[in-house]
């Protein structure tokens, strides 16, 4: 009988500890951005969103970047490669550049960061927010609680209507769209960030010169 009592006590302790760990994990997000399930129908509906695009619609080559604002490698590639791509290849009309959300679960603030950029996009400020998030990455990525206060500070300097930004963040308007982008990347075989889809291939991060060489050869194939 004493043995059974000990057994039930052990089972009870296990149940309490296990339940406590799960409850702690569920509550420690600390994000005012709505959490919880995203409606699968909303994700399906958001699949048509092709990402944030700049450049000439008739450019011979499209570069699609799958990136995570909290990923240090993405920040590095942004600074070393993508600024040049934007300033030279996009400006010259050779490349149309598309940014797609690929927030990794290992990064606690990534979803909120991508959501902040999506809300800034409503006011035509996606790329400004994109640059700001990468520039300040080390500051907000190390935030112990929510980083949304920092995102709001960036937004205040970038967007015209901060109330609209707040409303957008508050209702989590783009959660499904971000998830759809992520799942779209997974379907293409993207499993690390940053990844680049150029032509029909997925490439790892590379230098500006390497990217330009790929773009040049693709443009040449198309007789440009």
């Amino acid at each position: 009988m004493a043995r059974m009592k000990g057994f039930y006590m052990m089972l009870g302790v296990m149940a309490i500890v296990g339940g406590g760990v799960l409850a702690f994990m569920a509550m420690s997000g600390g994000s005012p951005l709505p959490s919880g399930p995203i409606d699968p129908a909303a994700i399906d509906a958001a699949r048509s969103f092709g990402g944030y695009t700049i450049g000439n619609a008739d450019a011979p080559v499209e570069i699609v970047e799958y990136a995570d604002f909290e990923c240090p490698a993405c920040r590095e590639t942004w600074a070393l490669t993508m600024i040049d791509v934007k300033e030279r290849l996009v400006r010259d009309g050779l490349v149309r550049l598309t940014f797609r959300d690929f927030p990794l679960q290992i990064h606690a603030h990534a979803r909120a960061a991508h959501h902040a950029a999506a809300c800034a996009n409503e006011q035509g400020a996606f790329w400004a927010m994109h640059d700001k998030l990468f520039l300040e990455q080390r500051d907000w990525a190390s935030a112990s609680g929510s980083a949304e206060g920092k995102f709001r500070n960036y937004a205040e300097a970038i967007v015209g209507d901060i109330a609209a930004y707040d409303a957008c963040m508050g209702e989590g308007r783009y959660r499904a769209q971000i998830q759809a982008s992520f799942e779209g990347g997974v379907r293409l075989g993207v499993n690390a960030t940053p990844s680049f889809v150029i032509g029909n291939r997925v490439y790892p991060p590379m230098s500006y010169d390497d990217m330009k060489a790929i773009v040049d050869s693709l443009a040449m194939e198309q007789g440009q």
């Binding site: 059974m4 057994f7 052990m10 089972l11 296990m14 149940a15 296990g18 339940g19 760990v21 799960l22 994990m25 569920a26 420690s28 997000g29 959490s35 919880g36 399930p37 995203i38 990794l104 679960q105 290992i106 990064h107 606690a108 992520f182 799942e183 997974v186 499993n191 690390a192």
Partner: protein
């Protein structure tokens, strides 16, 4: 009796594992504690659903059923009965079958591993082995009574 106690402990462990994976699927817990995103590939793939329901939910239901069966088998007159063992072996057998299918998908279709899914596959296998050991023991006990 010892077998049923061990199964109760294992199934509670399995229950929390699949509850964690379910909560991740529903978006209630943040970072999945896993390497460079291969858990995400597994959990966001089309194979993470069966008949429109996340596979982790089947784990929650299955482990809970085994836990109930093992506790049932530890109550008074049921301790000597074989029925709870039959139920456990049946449920664990189905669970192992399902885990083999999921592990096969991870290995050959997705080429990605979710370590919590692998741990669950080990737990359910241990439950089946323990259940079968209990079944054998109960068979020989019955034979002795028969003689």
């Amino acid at each position: 009796m010892k077998h049923r106690m061990a199964i109760a402990v294992l199934s509670l462990l399995g229950f929390f594992l699949s509850a964690y994976l379910s909560m991740w699927k529903l978006g209630f817990v943040g970072p999945l504690v896993c390497g460079v995103g291969s858990c995400e590939i597994v959990q966001t793939s089309e194979y993470a659903y069966l008949l429109g329901i996340p596979v982790a939910f089947y784990g929650v239901a299955g482990y809970l059923a085994i836990l109930v069966a093992s506790l049932w088998g530890l109550q008074g007159r049921w301790i000597g009965e074989r029925k709870p063992t039959h139920v456990i072996v049946f449920l664990a057998g189905a669970g192992v079958g399902f885990s083999i299918y999921l592990t096969f998908i991870e290995a050959f279709v997705l080429n990605a591993w979710c370590r919590w899914c692998v741990v669950s596959a080990i737990v359910i296998t241990l439950i089946l082995i323990t259940g079968l050991a209990g079944y054998r023991e109960s068979l020989s006990a019955h034979r002795e009574i028969g003689e």
